[in-house]
Structure formats: C-alpha cells, structure tokens
C-alpha cells in the first residue's frame, strides 16, 4: 500500500506535509520527515502529543483513556493515530514549537595535520565562533561531518574520532587514497591555518545508551574513527557494561597502536580487545583472520544477545549480518558503511 499524505497545520497556520504509511503512526512519520513534535511516552499514555483531525479517516491504536478526551471524536494522540485516508491534523501549538532538524554549516580552521598510523592522517580542526551556532563542537559520538575542499564544491564525509567538547575541536582519522580529491588536497596543499567549511554533525551511527546489552565494536582502518569516539565517550561516562573491541587489519603494521589500546583501557577497564590480522607475518601470535571471523569466534563464547556496532566496507557488514543470522540469538547490528 502506498503512503498516505499527512498535513499538519500549526496553530499559526503553517502546513507541514509528509508521507505516512497506513501501518505507521503520524508522530513517527513526522519524525522520519524531520519534524519533531512535542511527545513523551510514544505509547498512547502521557497525552502530550494530542491534536485534532480536521479532515480524513483515521484509526486510533490502543491508548490510555485518561490521555485523550472522549468528548471529541476528532481528538487524537499522534503516536497512536494511523491514517486510513489523507489526513489534515490541527496542532495545538505554533510552528516554533515543532523542532526541525537542520544540519549546521560552519567555518573551521586546521589546527594540525599529522601522520597517523599506516597511511592515515590525523586532521584536527577548530570551529570558528559564530553568533548563531557558538563555538562548541556538539555531536553524538559516531556521527560524521562533511568537509569541503576550500575553493571547490568537493565535499567528503568523515567520522569524528574525538568527543563533543566546548573548545570547538573536531578530530578526524583520514586514510589517504592515492588520486582521491580530498586525499590529494590533504597531502599536497592543506596546512594549519587553512579555513574550510564543515557541515554536520550527521548520521545515525550512534550508541543506544538505553540498551543494557554487552557491546561489541567491530572496525578496521579508518572505520575505527567513530568507534574510537564511542569508546572514549563510554570511558568518559564510566560506563560499566561489558564492552569488546575487534579491530581488523591486513597486516600487523596497520593495527591500532598498543598505546591507543592502553589509553582506552585506562578509562574503560572492562574493555576486551581482539586484534585480528588476516595476513600476518611469521611472528604474529594473535588472532589470524578477518574482523568478522574474529567476531564469530568471540560470539561463540557469548551467552547473551549482543549489540554489535560495526563500521566498515559493505563486504564486512554483509559477513557480520550473516554471522548474526546464523547465531540466531537476537544480536543487533548497528552499522555504518564506509
């Protein structure tokens, strides 16, 4: 069934339109479309998302009788309102009370550009103070920013590796691809003091901190950047849930330096780490194989359902999904494709 059209009309007359499948509810469809309406329980109980249908057929799902006026047949809770027709709904508040997710565009200056491990560079930017957005680096660990090469329209998205901070610092771990536009600019032209435009934060590869499950992070190469940010965040908040990191590389030289692992462990003592090398030299005594193979071995010992946070190429993510399906324990894969 194709999606129906929902029109929300704010008290001050603005019309917000978006599609909503008959199986979906109006509140969730609005959020998918980027409109965040006042809401709390999302379960038909608190009454915060009440509104009034002006036109169109709808069906109300299960909800608490105390949350909704029974005197008005057109009164609905948006979290329980399923359209059966194109709907027009009157909202009891003004447009200014509907949050719209907008991605900020700001200026930043290169603070440092240094070689990281094996063919990658560490790029550190500082946001320029702006009257509208201030100077803080606000993002959720795991999110990315789009960087524009100065004087061009060329934009590339890179995950943030550091933590949100009030100094406005944005740290990236970028692998240089020979011939790549951004890589070439970074390698040949970029220098501290250069200004560039950053757009973000964006992305839904973020921690589900309400989940009580053990967490396993799987990444390799620059897929580590968002995972590093997440692990640093868990460390900063002294998270106590079981946490494991699987870092995959082709050769030992591409592995995460031991010192990085120790720094993470200092703030996250429960962190278990598997370094997996698929083509190791003769002296390697760690896990031999790919990151998904290391995950499979680690999951074989796990008794609970796991939240797996994976960042890597499509092939790696496909392999992880196959392993999880095979295991059949209800593990959840939260992934970012590189």
């Amino acid at each position: 069934m194709s999606a129906l059209e929902v029109t929300l009309v704010t008290r001050d007359g603005e019309r917000l339109q978006f599609p909503c499948a008959a199986t979906d509810n109006v509140l969730r469809a609005a959020e998918t479309a980027g409109y965040f309406l006042p809401a709390m329980c999302h379960e038909g109980t608190c009454g915060l998302c009440h509104a009034r249908v002006a036109a169109g057929a709808f069906e109300m799902g299960a909800h608490s009788p105390s949350a909704l006026s029974t005197k008005d047949a057109a009164a609905v809770l948006l979290c329980r309102c399923h359209p059966r027709d194109n709907l027009t709904v009157d909202l009891p508040y003004n447009r200014s009370q509907v949050l719209r997710h907008r991605v900020p565009v700001r200026e930043a200056v290169i603070e440092s550009l240094t070689p990281a491990w094996h063919g990658a560079v560490s790029l550190s930017l500082r946001l320029q103070p702006d009257p509208e957005t201030g100077s803080a680096a606000e993002f959720s660990p795991g999110q990315f920013m789009e960087l524009t090469i100065p004087g061009t329209e060329i934009r590339r998205a890179y995950s943030l590796a550091n933590l949100p901070n009030w100094e406005g610092r944005l740290d990236f771990l970028i692998r240089l691809h020979p011939g790549g536009a951004f890589s070439t600019w970074l390698a040949e032209q970029a220098k501290p003091g250069d200004k560039l435009t950053v757009r973000g934060p964006s992305g839904a590869f973020v921690l589900d901190e309400l989940s009580a499950r053990p967490r396993c992070f799987v990444g390799g190469g620059c897929g580590l950047a968002p995972i590093l940010s997440m692990l640093r965040h868990l460390g900063e908040f002294q998270d106590s849930q079981p946490t494991h990191l699987i870092f995959g590389a082709n050769r030992e030289a591409e592995l995460l330096p031991e010192q990085e692992v120790e720094t993470l462990r200092a703030s996250l003592p429960q962190l278990g780490v598997t370094l997996a090398v698929s083509q190791p030299g003769s002296g390697w005594d760690g896990f031999t194989g790919t990151a998904p193979a290391a995950l499979e071995a680690w999951l074989a010992e796990a008794t609970e359902a796991i939240d797996i946070y994976a960042c890597g190429p499509p092939k790696m993510l496909e392999a992880i999904n196959a392993i999880v399906d095979q295991r059949g324990r209800g593990d959840r894969v939260i992934a970012e494709q590189l």
């Binding site: 608190c46 915060l48 105390s66 949050l99 901190e209």
Partner: protein, 551 residues
C-alpha cells in the same frame, strides 16, 4: 517491570501500572527492576538502622544514604541503570556496616532475616533475575491489592519525605528523628505488614514526619538564602550567554551563580526554580537574569530552544532530545545514560559550555511576573487580609497546589483559576501554576489576586499561612473560607497529601486522577475518614467550595 508510583502511569481496564519494557516516564525495564532491588535493600538497611536508632547508635551516614537513594527512585529523577548497579553495591556495604554495628551492640540477638539478609548479585543479568523478590506487587496473591496499595502508599510517602529531607540536608539541616522515622517505616515495610490499620497509621505517621521535614526545609531555605519577599521576575530573555537551571535545588543554583560571578553569563531559572528569585541572597546576584519556560512537561521544546547549557538539579527530567543532549547536565540525584553528570558541585564546565554556545542574540521585550508570597510576606499583610475577608471583599481562598503534567485532564486547573470569582484569592504552590500564572488576575484592595507561595517544597509555608489565618479567625483550618485543590504527579505530592491528612485537613480536592496504587476500598477510607475528593469539573467544584460543601 511493574511501577505505578506516579499519576501518569498506564491505566487500562485491568488496573493501573507500567508493566511493559518502558514506563510512560521513559524509565526502562532494567532501571525499574534495579530501582526495586535498591528499595528492597533500603528496607534491609532500615531494619538495622531502626534498631540502632533505638539503641542510641544511629549511623548518620547510613541515614544520609537512605535519603539520597530513595530520592534517586522518585519519578523523573534517575534513569541511569549503571548508577543503580553502583548504588546496589553501596547499599550492600552500608547494610554490612550496620549489621556489624548492631550485632556488636546486641550479640545475643539472632541475625535479622528478610531484606536485611538479601545478598545482591554482582553482575547485571544475575541482579535482574533477583528482581521479582523486590517487586512492589510481590506477595499480592497472598495479601490482596488493598494491602499492596497501602504498602505502596507508605513507600511512596517515604520517598517524598526522603526527597524533602535531602534538599534540607544539602544545606546542612538535618535532625536525627528524620533518619529514625524513615528507618522505622522501612523496617515496617521489611516485615511485609498485612494489617490495613497498621499501614494507615504508618502512612499518617509519615505525614507527621513530613511536616517536621518540611519545617526543616523551610528553615534550611530561609536560613541560608533569606526570607522570601515579593519579587518581580523577568520572563523574557536578555541578549547574551546563558545558563538554564531547572529542578528544585537552591544550593545548586547558588553554586552556579557563584561560578558565573564576574562573567557576563546570565542565569535563568526554569520550572520549580522560579520561586528562587524571591530569596534575597539569590536575587542579589546580578547574573540571575530571570525565568525561562514553564513546567517540566514542556522541557523538550523549551530546552531545545534555549541557546545555552541546561542543568537539571532534581526532578522532573524527561528523555533529553538529540537537539540538546550534549548541553544538558544532571546534578545531585538526577541521571540519564550518556548525559554529563556533575557530582561534585563544580559547575565550571557548565560555564565553559555557556561561553561556547551562542546565547540569546537579542533582548526580548520585557515581561514580568510576581513571585515570593511565602508565609512571611502573606502574614505581614495578615491584617489587611483579615479585614478584606471581614468586609466581604475576599469571599474565599483557593490554594491551587501541586505538579503540572501533560494529561489533558490538567486543564481543570487552568479552568479553575480562570473561573474562580474575582472576589476570591488564588494561592499557588508547585509547578501547576504555570498553566495560568502568566495571566493578569487583578488585585483586591491592592493585594494581587494570585499569590505564589513557592515550590511544592514550600508546602510548610502554605500550612503556616492556613494555621495563622485559622488562629486569627479563631477557628480550625477546615472552617476557614479556604479550599485546597491539589494536582499530584509524583511522590513528594504523596508525602504532602499524607501531611495534610495527618494535620486533619479535610476536603482536599485531588486530581487529575487518583493514585492507581490505591484500590477503591482504600480510596473509600480516604474519602470517608478525611473527605478527600476526586476533582469533578472546575465550575461545579468552585460552586461546591463556595457553598462549603464537604464530603
């Protein structure tokens, strides 16, 4: 998970209670179960603490732990399961210490059983397997819903008393009898009482204890920050960097004002901190710029629109939206997973955040409201008030007190304030007032018709005003031209209701819905014995109040 401690709990034909993976407030199943376990342990600590109090060997640190831990389990306070895992481990240590002290003092006594003997697991999955023993409905099949509901009434009253006592304690005001009273109630609950009269008596004893605690809190607030005085508070923003402080905790607000001293960062109060402006020692800070926003249930919109950091010092926190999750901080008993927590009273990073965030770009046109009619201010014009009643200029007083919330039934309180005749005075208390306090309600003989007494934490002040008027008119509180219209939401309101009942105040109108944990039979007792009345509709209730109709 099973939780029915607040007003907005899920209600179905089968009864009230949040029993799915997540409660209406946003508390998940794991956190709810861990909170139940912590409460169960606190009952065990209460068993030892009560006995040590009787022996004159009270452990003040254990009493403090009980108050803080109970406070964390109030509605909309702490959602961070990791914090509860820590508190459960700490509770086991506190219990062990008290057990050792008690057994040293009474070597002949056999070891206590029940919650006092509970050994919590260390790993989270094992802890969750133990949670059934601690459910608020444990034993329902044996003792029935009336008893379970009354045990819940005692427990929720306890939580409210503990929260008020904690607020007083952080300002350095404690009394050993508060610790003893809380321990006694916990000890009683540990014994799984099934006698309805015993439970009702304990509920009223907690009401009496809460009266003493409210007095202590009043002394703490006025002793530390001065006597509240009528104060005009700006409710629109001023250009510049800004911090928003919500919750109830005056000490945290004071610490933030100290932290911004000498900067141009402006501090705004939110929700229940509005009355803070009436304390002279807080109002004296030039950085205290005004109040921003309204009651707790509107925080997602108000916080998202606020251009600076936000500090939540106590309840009511609801799930921080992505729009402001990075710039909201919790303090004291409050917590949310992944939200920065300030445990040591050092708010310097909040100031740093304020400097980095944009702040208000322009000054809005000035709007003000009047607050600060606590007992001192009202009683200073007692002569005028009495004269106004005697001359007929004031026909009646309505105390519209308690919490706000999202349910549409709460429109009743707005209707009540709007429809109350112009020759009546509206006294407000708590955050329910935000539904109508921005309107101009006029004056009677130069006295504003709407007098805000303060936070829900200032209920003592309201009771003192009522007692003083009763004294002046040489009658009882129930004979005064005064009606109490109470909106409840969380457990502090339960404690205040128990105080009113313990003081013999009758005919309290309670809404928007009655507690889900009380069965019709127990509610019947409250109606018969204390005249507690569910709200009806505003016009009918106003008319009944003016006619002094009672239940």
């Amino acid at each position: 998970m099973f939780c029915y401690q607040c007003e907005q709990t899920t209600r179905t034909d089968l009864g009230g209670g949040c029993a799915t993976q997540k409660g209406v407030c946003g508390k998940d199943e794991t956190t709810a179960d861990l909170q139940d376990l912590l409460i169960y342990q606190l009952k065990g600590i209460g068993q030892y603490s009560y006995r040590l109090h009787q022996l004159g060997q009270a452990d003040a640190a254990a009493d403090e732990f009980i108050r803080y831990a109970l406070f964390t389990t109030l509605t909309n306070v702490n959602f961070n399961r990791a914090r509860f895992v820590e508190l459960i481990a700490q509770a086991a240590q506190v219990r062990d210490r008290l057990r050792a002290a008690y057994e040293a003092a009474s070597p002949e006594t056999p070891r206590l059983g029940g919650p006092a003997a509970f050994a919590p697991a260390t790993a989270l999955p094992d802890l969750l397997k133990q949670a059934n023993i601690a459910s608020v409905r444990a034993g329902a099949d044996l003792v029935g819903d009336d008893v379970i509901g009354l045990r819940a009434l005692v427990l929720y009253g306890l939580k409210g008393v503990a929260a008020y006592a904690h607020h007083a304690e952080v300002l350095g005001y404690t009394k050993p009898e508060v610790g003893a009273g809380l321990a006694k109630a916990l000890d009683l609950l540990a014994g799984e009482p099934a006698d309805i009269n015993v439970l009702l008596t304990e509920a009223l004893a907690l009401g009496t204890l809460n009266y003493a605690v409210m007095e202590l809190l009043d002394a703490a607030n006025t002793g530390t920050y001065g006597i509240p005085a009528p104060t005009s508070v700006r409710t629109t923003p001023v250009a510049g960097k800004s911090i928003l402080v919500s919750g109830h905790d005056l000490r945290d607000l004071h610490a933030i004002l100290e932290a911004v001293k000498g900067t141009d960062v402006k501090v705004y109060t939110h929700g229940e901190l509005l009355p803070a402006h009436s304390y002279p020692k807080l109002a004296a800070y030039p950085n205290l710029a005004g109040n921003y926003g309204t009651a707790w249930q509107n925080q997602q919109l108000e916080f998202a629109a606020f251009p600076g950091p936000i500090v939540m010092t106590s309840n009511c926190l609801i799930e921080p939206q992505p729009a402001y999750r990075n710039r909201i901080f919790t303090a004291g008993p409050v917590g949310w997973p992944g939200v920065r927590h300030i445990a040591d009273g050092n708010f310097s990073q909040v100031v740093q955040a304020a400097q980095a965030l944009p702040g208000f770009s322009e000054t809005a046109s000035e709007k003000k409201i009047l607050v600060g009619f606590g007992r001192h201010a009202v009683l200073s014009v007692a002569g005028q008030v009495i004269e106004a009643v005697q001359s007929g200029a004031v026909k009646h007083f309505f105390l519209i007190g308690g919490c706000d919330g999202a349910a549409p039934g709460r429109n009743y309180y707005t209707d009540f304030a709007e429809k109350a005749p112009k020759d009546t005075v509206l006294l407000t208390l708590g955050c329910g007032k935000f539904r109508f306090n921005m309107e101009d309600h006029g004056t009677i003989g130069g006295i504003p018709r709407l007098l805000d007494i303060g936070q829900c934490n200032d209920s003592y002040s309201a009771v003192q005003i009522a007692l003083a008027l009763a004294n002046a008119f040489k009658c009882g509180v129930n004979d005064l031209p005064l009606s109490l219209v109470v909106s409840w939401f969380e457990q502090k309101a339960v404690a205040v209701l128990l105080t009113l009942l313990a003081l013999g105040v009758r005919n309290v109108r309670l809404g928007p819905s009655l507690p889900a944990f009380l069965t019709p039979a127990v509610l019947g007792v409250l109606v018969d014995k204390f005249g507690v009345q569910p709200i009806n509709n505003a016009e009918a209730d106003i008319a009944a109040s003016l006619a002094r109709a009672s239940a």
